[in-house]
Amino acid sequence: MAPPIKEEIMAKKAAYMGMMVALAFVFSYLESLVPINFGIPGIKLGLANLVAIVALYTMGSKEACTLSLIRIILTGFTFGNPSSMLYSLAGGILSLLVMILAQKIKIFSVTGVSVLGGVFHNTGQILVAALVVENERLFYYLPMLMISGTIAGTLIGILAAILIKRLERLIKEG
């Protein structure tokens, strides 16, 4: 079989990227429909992070950043408001940077990377929230959010590992 020409790879990548953005967008929306209330704001599964991790492993860090940025801006304008967008942005950027680093140092599997992502997502949001309301009492939430981030990160990581395994074959052979 002849190697695919440049345009073909570009088209495939664009289609894949579009699918991932749509998926992340839908996951963000789905999650806002399911109210999870543990008495502490900020606890959630982070389904959108699943897409970010899959993108990070199947496409690369640059693509994962683009994807997250587009997803946050889209959901912010559609379902949120400027302040919720600020929180998502802080959490999303910090979590993605940590995940990219964690992937680069190659001592963790997808699960470990995802756990770090989950924990730092919550940390980023608390940092911004504490800056905005100028109240250090918000850090009282941090331990609980670290634990919830770890649990959510583990679940998402296991899911992501399965997805990456299957999608990779699809992308490679596609």
Partner: protein
């Protein structure tokens, strides 16, 4: 154009992941312990504050049972008793005994007043009343 990254070994590093999760959970528990220790140190305990003629005289924590005689210059007195986290005036030399008949107080802002002696016992840093403000 970057190529897609190569195959990822998904199951080889489980041990590091478990260590990571353990470390994060321990950190979270430590932070939790630190925060509750810190906030406990900083929460003020409920106190009964005694005022005579509008001036603060003495503070008594509600969690220590005690019996205090609030003596006035003219020889009159009110006996303040703190028991079971409540403050009560059990004896007084005043003519009307309104302060003695008043039920014990323990909630934030509640007070015992002896008008003839100008003695006021007020609760500070106490819990908010569970029913409503009208019960003061």
């Amino acid at each position: 154009m970057e190529e897609f990254t190569g195959p990822v070994d998904l199951n080889s590093m489980k041990k590091n992941d478990v260590i990571l999760i353990g470390v994060i959970l321990i950190l979270a528990l430590a932070a939790f312990g630190g925060i509750s220790w810190y906030s406990e140190k900083n929460t003020k305990e409920a106190e009964a504050v005694v005022y005579v003629d509008g001036e603060e005289q003495e503070r008594y924590p509600l969690n220590q049972d005690t019996s205090v005689r609030v003596s006035l210059e003219d020889g009159n007195y009110n006996l303040l008793e703190i028991k079971d986290g409540q403050a009560d005036i059990t004896e007084a030399s005043c003519p009307d005994k309104v302060c003695v008949d008043h039920r014990p107080v323990k909630n934030q802002g509640e007070s015992l007043v002896c008008l003839p002696h100008k003695v006021v016992v007020e609760i500070e840093n106490g819990e908010e009343a569970k029913i409503d403000g009208a019960t003061h």
